[in-house]
């Protein structure tokens, strides 16, 4: 079966990454990376700064990779330069290669080749190989696949040129040097052979054969500039004069020699699955399967060096219903015993009805974690035990049942506090207390606050005296002591219309119970005041 290779070339991959990072980073980064100025990435080579990669704008202004930075500055004095980062480029390409696995199973990054000194070869760039033979029909044919790929890559903000050919060399050449009309020409042909490829490549420069710059220069000196110039030439003199690399690359591009690339290893799914030959009904069987799945998931995580923060246990009933249950962990974990413990009561919550056809467990939100060798005789540390307590409580009571108190810089008593998922590393409240001391510590605050203020029937002197007595829960509380008022105005910029100013009093009745009571509405504004109980003091 004929191979169908797609080569995706990202001419401005590195510069686009720098711009993307600047957009997402803090504003000071944006300030020194103006979007209107051409951007080049440079690296030092033989004592000079060479341009490795340019942005689209710089390319339009005539700046090319391989130039000296000084020459580039002479052309465009306003250009911005940054150090290039080869490792980040390679990481980006690997990421793209993984992304491209949605189109076909064989993908690989084609990184910028470097010469002996480590600098990127000038005409080279970052590319991606895909072998889509036998996979294109899934997307509705090669051309539909190419169109979708180009669309999604451009939507991600990448400049990309895609070419398709039966050989790696031809795809490489077409992606970089061919005009847009020729790049997809092979997709229209029925099994293009060497002759058709020769026709496509004939007009391209010799650099399209992945030849070194020195070889290209030497051939140009002999009057050979295009691929078509050497197609009909005798091979032996060509090889003896310019090196065997010329004929080898030509054969590879035309398909006389088979060339391949090494596809990236597929990421192993963090999933363990059981398909049952017969529907499973018995609770003890379900429990046993859950334990097996937990062990298996933990083993997969152990092998991949990952730890998960969310486990999903899924099951499919014979009637086709697919159900799942999420388990949130307080910290990344791959502890099989911990998984089993958390899933101990999951078996009861599954109602198999007419039986289960399959069950699976998937690990989500994974992060790398260094393997820890358990120590002999080492007990569980206190923090481990706390974290596992949080997990157990969350597994038992549901996500969101275990919370931390957090403070907010707000004078409204009910808005000054909120609950958040616990973070054992830092105590957010203390930080917020230090950051916003006034609204939290200025005035006395109750230790219990009613979620909904309770309306009171109050006897109080007008206009602004504290209550003399009030009735709450059918009991009359006679006030022996009061302090206040503390006036808290609503946040007029956010509050709903009609929200009124409150005057808070701290009251003590004759039994000694202390209440936090407020009067809503100011009599001097002609508002009809209402009294509310809002909290209890110690």
């Amino acid at each position: 079966m004929q191979r169908v290779i797609i080569h995706a070339w990202f001419p401005h991959l590195a510069a686009e990454r720098v711009r993307r990072a600047a957009r997402h980073a803090a504003s000071d980064m944006v300030a020194d990376l103006p979007s209107g100025a051409p951007l080049v990435l440079t690296s030092a080579c033989h004592g000079a700064d060479l341009v490795d990669s340019v942005c689209r704008l710089a390319a339009r202004h005539g700046l090319r990779p391989g130039m000296r930075l000084a020459d580039a500055r002479a052309l465009r004095p306003d250009l911005v330069s940054r150090d290039s980062d080869m490792a980040a480029d390679a990481a980006d390409l690997l990421h793209l290669a993984r992304w491209a696995r949605r189109y076909c199973p064989l993908t690989a990054p084609a990184p910028a080749t470097t010469d002996g000194t480590g600098a990127a070869v000038a005409h080279d760039g970052n590319g991606l190989w895909l072998d889509i033979a036998g996979a294109a029909h899934l997307k509705g044919g090669i051309r539909a696949l190419l169109a979708e790929m180009a669309r999604s890559l451009r939507a991600a903000g990448l400049t990309v040129r895609l070419a398709v050919a039966p050989t790696c060399g031809a795809a490489w050449a077409l992606a970089r040097y061919a005009p847009a009309a020729q790049r997809h020409a092979c997709a229209r042909m029925e099994s293009p052979g060497p002759r058709q490829l020769a026709g496509l490549l004939a007009g391209l420069p010799l650099a399209a054969l992945r030849l070194d710059g020195t070889v290209c220069t030497a051939m140009a000196a002999a009057g050979l500039r295009r691929v078509g110039d050497i197609l009909g030439m005798p091979r032996a003199p060509l090889a003896s004069r310019f090196g065997s690399v010329v004929t080898a690359q030509l054969d590879a591009a035309l398909g006389h020699v088979n060339e391949s690339f090494t596809p990236i290893a597929p990421p192993r799914p963090l999933l363990s699955l059981r398909n049952f030959a017969e529907p499973v009904l018995a609770p003890e069987d379900i429990r046993a399967v859950i334990e097996q799945l937990a062990d298996e998931t933990a083993a997969i995580l152990q092998q991949t060096g990952l730890a998960t923060r969310r486990l999903q246990l899924g099951w499919q009933r014979v009637d086709g219903a697919v159900l799942a249950r999420d388990l949130h962990l307080s910290r990344p974990s791959r502890d099989a015993a911990g998984f089993r413990r958390l899933l101990a009561d999951a078996g009861e919550s599954i109602s198999p009805e007419f039986g289960l056809e399959r069950m699976w467990m998937e690990a989500h939100d994974c992060s790398p974690q260094a393997p820890v060798t358990p120590q002999f005789n080492a007990g569980i540390s206190a923090s481990e035990s706390r974290a596992s307590l949080i997990d157990r409580l969350v597994a038992r009571l549901g996500h969101g049942a275990v919370l931390h108190m957090k403070a907010r810089d707000c004078w409204q008593p009910e808005a000054a506090q909120y609950m958040a998922y616990p973070d054992m590393e830092k105590s957010g409240f203390t930080d917020a207390m230090n950051a916003a001391p006034h609204c939290l510590t200025a005035a006395p605050r109750p230790i219990r606050l009613l979620a909904h203020p309770h309306r009171l029937a109050v006897v109080a002197l007008l206009p602004d005296h504290p209550p003399a007595q009030f009735v709450w829960q059918r009991q009359t509380h006679r006030i022996v002591r009061a302090s206040g008022p503390e006036r808290i105005a609503p946040q007029w910029w956010t509050a709903a219309g009609g929200t009124r100013t409150r005057d808070y009093f701290r009251l003590q009745d004759e039994q000694g119970a202390c209440f936090w009571v407020y009067r809503e509405g100011l009599p001097e504004r002609g508002e009809d005041p209402g009294w509310f109980l809002h909290g209890f003091f110690a």
């Binding site: 409580l393 108190m405 207390m433 605050r445 829960q473 009359t476 039994q511 909290g535």
Partner: protein, 319 residues
């Protein structure tokens, strides 16, 4: 009572050996109660059920009633009438501060508060911070059902590395059997991990916990002072509670007014209110005008489990 001052008193069998005759040599210092305390603790040590750390609360008569202090690694029950949630929470915070002074700095406190929609409201962080308790250390377990919270109590208590566990059961209605079983399991879990537990809620017919307290609010000034003269406007607000220790394992009942200085983390006993201090015009419509002597005591006696029920529970536990 020299043993009260020296932090936590590990009471092991060897600490129990000092004979009473030596104590009797300076009888003047040792009160009758102190002597009985010693005897009780000797007997308890022979039973082997008091190898526990005790935290003196700093009030001499209370510590002696508690047989040396609040037992750590046990479960205590603090009750308060509905409407007295502020006082109940405040006293729990006072006990918590005493406990925290003795334990690991970073250890979190698990607090399972009553449902926020209920009548007792939710915990308010700024108020807790004002009492010297860092709300960042609190791990709030938010579950609207008191039954679920109590069911989780044992699991939480078994966890090591916690400073304390507080569970509020707001209006759970359960049989005395249920409470007996819960108390037994919770006590075993707490003993295994050394975590102290506090249960807060309405008075219920519960037994089996290490100590049972009734907390009610109280005025710092005696009622006669309050009646006679108006409190100055800017006088400080003292925290003050009517604390009744109904039952303590190895101890004896005790009742007084306690005031707590949150800054110094010091509890002190206020002079007992006399009968003359009773307000003259107590409104007759209140079912329990004064917390203390009459009302709640009678009520609790009605709720106490009968002999037959207790025997049944013991049989079930043994079974």
């Amino acid at each position: 009572m020299t043993h009260v001052e020296s932090g936590i008193n590990p009471v092991g069998p060897e600490a129990m050996i000092p004979d009473i005759y030596k104590q009797n040599q300076h009888d003047e210092d040792v009160s009758r109660h102190g002597c009985f305390d010693r005897l009780r603790r000797d007997v308890a040590a022979l039973d082997g059920r008091m190898a526990t750390a005790r935290l003196p609360l700093g009030v001499e008569s209370l510590d002696s009633a508690l047989a040396g202090g609040l037992a750590l690694g046990r479960v205590h029950m603090l009750c308060g009438r509905p409407g007295h949630d502020g006082a109940l929470t405040g006293f729990a915070v006072a006990l918590l501060r005493r406990i925290l002074a003795q334990t690991d700095e970073a250890a979190p406190i698990v607090w399972c508060p009553a449902a926020a929609a209920g009548g007792s409201g939710m915990l308010y962080a700024a108020g807790l911070a004002a009492l010297g308790l860092d709300p960042g250390r609190l791990l709030i377990v938010d579950s609207p059902s008191p039954g679920v919270r109590l069911a989780a109590l044992e699991d939480i208590l078994r966890t090591e590395g916690l400073a304390a566990v507080i569970v509020e059961y707001d209006r759970v209605s359960q049989s005395s059997d249920y409470w007996m079983r819960l108390a037994r399991r919770a006590q075993l879990a707490a003993e295994a991990s050394g975590v102290t537990g506090l249960l807060l809620g309405w008075p219920v017919a519960a037994s089996g916990f290490d100590s049972l307290w009734h907390i009610a609010p109280a005025c710092a000034a005696s009622p006669s002072e309050t009646q006679s003269q108006h409190t100055p406007r800017h006088a400080p607000w003292h925290l003050c509670w009517q604390v009744e220790l109904r039952h303590a394992r190895g101890g004896r009942p005790w009742e007084s007014r306690l005031s707590w200085n949150a800054h110094a983390n010091r509890l002190c006993e206020l002079p007992r209110a006399t009968a003359a201090d009773a307000p003259l015009d107590a409104p007759a419509m209140l079912p329990f005008a004064r917390p203390g002597r009459n009302g709640p005591r009678l009520q609790l006696r009605e709720l106490r489990p009968s002999k037959v029920a207790a025997r049944g529970t013991a049989g079930q536990l043994a079974g």
